[in-house]
């Protein structure tokens, strides 16, 4: 019989074991594929997600006046490779007669679109048809209203009651932003998309639009489009300009790279854990046959022949396993991608790119098993036959992993970058077996008191195959640590935003009117619940930056009120003092625009004014989250003269203490009604920001949870191996009267022990990681306090235990099903 046949025979002879090993290869390969596909999809999806949050358009065309002529769109449509939509917005009131629904809940933002069925709007139709002269609403709005395609929406407008039929219900998107319930409608208006002509007609704006959005179709060069659009606009001789939208989103998420790093880290973790699961189970399955190999050597097999035999066995397994893993992995990858896109509510038809995944998964599925099996086989070849047969394997306690691990962990303290995860996690993996031994020693008495006989057995079993068991535990531990880190970062991010937003919002409410009349301010101040109010001018100024044009929102700030209505915080002196000291050509930049600019304080920037481009001196950098932290501030008086703004649109409102924020909104709405274009408070901003971040983090969470589930499979594998190895022992236990349920409990407790060590270790490690990262991490120019939420930790602990519980179910069932006769006869 050739060695190859013998190898095959061996595999067939131990079917269960072969199947288990095969399974771990399949799972490892599949999860590598899944992880890589997720990272790849996330790389593609995130920019899209951010863009969908901040607008789908690549460019917008705007005028210096509020409105410009509609026919500008035709010159833009002449530019090839673009899709464009002309827009006109207006607010209106829903005619809705139902008890308990007040006016503020009936606010509707009407968006007139020249076309609703374009690559730019990209609505996903749930029901009905786009491109007709009906209205388009989101599925969320349709649900709250109980409305359907064909129903009529009645609106109160300047020119009387108007009705329009619903032509299509589409998936919720940012353009169709609206409240999720009637209660939420007190915060946000509904949005209804209607044909452009409807808005023009109802509000006496015939022939007028206020903006054009342009999307570049695939394969078109953006800079050429911008040039051509600019050319077209110049020909028209109107005061229109085109500007890229994307750049704003870039500014918002300049720290997207940090995020990608986190994503890669999670991916790296997933891949290493998968690799580890493969390595581990192969290692164990060869290791435990050392006695058999020794016996084969006594009957004349050489070490080389043995090595070749194992090589064949492993090769067979890895080839089959990799093939099956690729198959399963493709399915997993597609599923994960779909889930990811669902989480980010992005729609994309493109297939999953599997090439990179295959490139990593195939070698992993074949080389790792070989590597894992060669080490123990080499050892088996070297040790004396007699030793092996006697099976008196004394555990050798080596010191180097402990020392190397400590060094690696310590080095993590000195790396001010997320990359510190790599040495730190490696170090923990090396040190963990020592800690695990201590943990088991503490667990034993606990198990004994809590669970009696079965606890005693489980505790002792845990300290038997310590190497294998602790390796399994450390895998789960690393996964849990990452969950702790990422979810805490997520929470810290949102809390920090919340704090900063509240500190620099300039009051409790920002009310934007179409324009503010002289008595409006007094009217506002007299409104019930208002403690104080001011108005301010805001202009999105064109900024010439390195030959590019972009928009810079500039705020006119009154030195008399800025300390009461803080729009920013500045170092050194109070905001009022800082504003007072500004000269007429000086402004303050916020951190984001400052970094975007790349200059230094004292240098000048070029801004477009009614008199043409003028340079302004950057006098300082301030912190703000107003307008998501992108803008510049000037003294209100200088702002007026520089930019010739005749009217103000925004009012900041301070609420009387203890006055309900919602009631305040209602009161103000009752006063100003449809003249209000927008009412936005810091809490709205917080919810938008946290939704964006939580959405982005969901990808990382998904990956880490995947990695943790893989570690759960590691536990299953280890427990199954323990059971196989001790099958005769199980038979004996059952023979002497240990019941089936006692055996089940014993196996479950073993699994839970592994899981508990991992969970405890993971939480401690995660907290350490959080501490280390909060020392240097700054996202969006914000730093984060080191804080762990007991709630999150508790949740994660439950998750860790749930994973290990689930992982133990199969082995426990398997142990319960052991046929006694066969078990006692085994080998």
């Amino acid at each position: 019989m050739t060695l190859r046949q013998l190898a095959w025979r061996n595999l067939m002879r131990r079917k269960t074991r072969s199947l288990l090993t095969l399974l771990s290869i399949v799972i490892g390969v599949a999860s590598i594929l899944g992880v890589i596909a997720s990272v790849e999809s996330a790389k593609k999806a995130l920019p899209q997600y951010l863009q969908s949050v901040f607008g789908k358009a690549d460019f917008t065309v705007q005028g210096t006046d509020a409105y410009f002529r509609e026919n500008a769109i035709s010159s833009i449509q002449a530019v090839e490779g673009t899709a464009s939509v002309a827009m006109l917005k207006h607010s209106a009131k829903l005619k809705w007669d139902a008890p308990g629904i007040t006016d503020i809940q009936k606010r509707v933002d009407l968006r007139g679109y020249s076309d609703t069925d374009t690559a730019l709007t990209a609505f996903q139709v749930v029901k009905g048809k786009l491109g007709t002269d009906g209205a388009v609403i989101s599925d969320r709005t349709a649900r709250v209203w109980g409305a359907d395609v064909g129903d009529t929406i009645a609106l109160v407008t300047d020119t009387g009651l108007r009705e329009i039929k619903i032509a299509a219900v589409v998936r919720y998107t940012i353009e169709l932003m609206g409240p999720s319930s009637w209660t939420m409608a007190k915060y946000h208006p509904w949005t209804v998309v209607v044909p452009l002509s409807a808005v023009q007609d109802w509000f006496g704006l015939a022939g007028k639009i206020e903006g054009i959005s342009i999307k570049i179709l695939d394969g078109t060069d953006p800079s050429r489009v911008q040039e051509r659009v600019a050319g077209q606009l110049k020909e028209r001789g109107e005061e229109l300009y085109v500007q890229p939208v994307l750049l704003d989103a870039d500014a918002q998420f300049k720290d997207v790279n940090t995020f990608f790093l986190a994503l890669y880290m999670a991916g790296f973790l997933g891949i290493s854990l998968s690799a580890f699961v493969i390595f581990h189970s192969l290692y164990v399955s060869v290791q435990e046959r050392r006695g058999e190999f020794a016996a084969m050597r006594t009957i004349g097999y050489t070490s080389d022949q043995l090595r070749l035999l194992v090589l064949y066995e492993v090769l067979f397994l890895s080839l089959i396993g990799t093939a099956a893993g690729l198959l399963a992995g493709s399915g997993l990858a597609a599923g994960l991608k779909a889930l990811l896109f669902l989480l980010l509510s992005i729609h994309q038809e493109a297939g999953t790119a599997l090439a990179a995944g295959f490139l990593a998964a195939v070698p992993a599925g074949i080389l790792i098993p070989l590597a894992a099996s060669l080490y123990p086989i080499r050892k088996a070849g070297r040790s004396s036959v007699a030793d092996e047969l006697r099976k008196k394997t004394r555990p050798v306690r080596r010191r180097w992993p402990l020392i190397a691990g400590m060094v690696l962990i310590l080095s993590g303290f000195f790396i001010p970058h997320l990359v510190l995860l790599v040495p730190l996690l490696t170090g923990v993996a090396l040190v963990f077996p020592y800690l695990f031994r201590g943990f088991v020693a503490c667990l034993k008495p606990l198990y004994r008191t809590l669970f009696g006989f079965t606890g005693e057995l489980a505790g002792r079993n845990l300290s038997r195959s310590l190497g294998r068991t602790s390796m399994t535990s450390v895998i789960l531990c690393l996964g849990i640590a990452m969950i702790v880190l990422m979810s805490s970062l997520n929470a810290a991010l949102i809390q920090t935003y919340e704090r900063v937003i509240h500190a620099t919002y300039g009051g409790n409410l920002d009310v934007m009117l179409h324009h503010i009349e002289p008595d409006d301010l007094q009217l506002l101040r007299d409104t019930e619940g208002v403690a104080d109010a001011v108005t301010y001018p805001l202009q999105a100024v064109v900024w010439h930056l390195n030959g590019d044009k972009r928009k810079l929102p500039v705020y006119g700030v009154g030195e008399d009120w800025i300390d009461r209505f803080p729009l920013f915080t500045s170092e050194g002196s109070a905001p009022g003092e800082t504003i007072r000291r500004l000269a007429s050509d000086e402004l303050l930049m916020d951190r984001i625009s400052y970094q975007l600019w790349g200059g230094t304080v004292g240098d000048r920037i070029l801004l477009e004014t009614p008199e043409g481009p003028r340079s302004f001196r950057v006098a300082g950098v301030v912190e703000t989250m107003k307008n998501s932290g992108y803008g510049a501030f000037m003294n209100k008086e200088h702002f007026r003269t520089s930019f010739g703004v005749k009217y103000e649109r925004n009012a900041l409102v301070l609420k009387q203490e203890d006055y309900a924020p919602l009631q305040l909104r209602e009161n103000i709405f009752d006063r100003f009604g449809a003249r209000i274009e927008e009412m936005f408070g810091p809490e709205d901003w917080v919810s938008v920001i946290s939704a964006v971040y939580t959405g982005s983090f969901s990808v990382v969470h998904l990956l880490i949870i995947l990695a943790t589930v893989i570690s759960g499979i590691g536990i299953t594998n280890t427990l199954l191996m323990n059971i196989m190895e001790r099958i005769r022992e199980l038979g004996m236990l059952r023979a002497v009267g240990v019941t089936r349920s006692q055996v089940v409990r014993m196996v479950m407790l073993e699994g839970m022990g592994i899981g508990a060590a991992a969970t405890l270790g993971g939480i401690l490690l995660g907290t350490l990681l959080l501490y280390l990262t909060t020392r240097f991490l700054d996202i969006h120019s914000l730093t984060f306090p080191f804080r762990v939420s007991p709630g999150i930790l508790l949740l994660i602990a439950l998750f860790g235990l749930a994973v290990s519980l689930t992982a133990s179910l199969l082995p426990a069932a398997r142990a319960a099903k052991t046929k006694l006769g066969e078990a006692l006869r085994y080998e």
Binding site: K392, G452, F453, E456, R460, N461, S463, R464, R728, E729, G731, M732, L733, R734, A735, V736, G737, V738, T739, R740, S741, Q742, K819, L820, G821, L824, R825
Partner: protein, 237 residues
Amino acid sequence: MEEETKIMIKLEKAAKVFGSEAGTFTALQETDLEIRKGEFVAVMGPSGSGKSTLLQLLGGLDLPTTGSVRVDGEPLEKLSEKERTLFRRSKVGFVFQNYQLLPMMTAAENIALSLAASRTPKAEMERAVARLIGQVNLTGKEKSFPSQLSGGQQQRVAIARALAMKPKLLLADEPTGNLDRKNGRDVLELLSRLNREEQITVVMVTHDRYAAEAASRVVTLLDGAIASDEAEKAVAK
């Protein structure tokens, strides 16, 4: 009726057939067998003749494919899985060729295994273990782990474990198979003594003619059927 109560084991047309993809294999043909309380029966026969299979049926580790197995009046095939476990725990002691001790437990802890499984109070357990250790002559070895004991000592620990619940029936599958002559003799003597003094019924599988001499009756299996069943001369003496 009087006869009934004296019977420990009664096999009626009990047969065991193993099935696998390769086909079926009859390990034990339809067998009738009666063993009375207090008997010491040796089961002999060539390898593969079905000795272990028979023993497993007697201990309720496995069920006959057809027929019935009655132990101490209990029809095993009628009991539930759990009832059979409890039956084994309270009425049957098992001794195996390779001792089957838990390596991570001391001699005393191994002996106490079934006691612990049935939640015996600690004090009672300690008393029982002390008694058992004395019974198998291992005083002083309570704290030793199996790896620190000789084969004979390990087997005696295993016997003590089997005796812990005061069983009426002791089933031993080649208990001396791994032992040298001297140790084997010690174990056999121990079994005989238990049989004599405690009236424990013993069924012992063995390959060893010499070992079989300790028994009062020898049942020989051949190809899954009883080939002979005779009282040993030793008893006649």
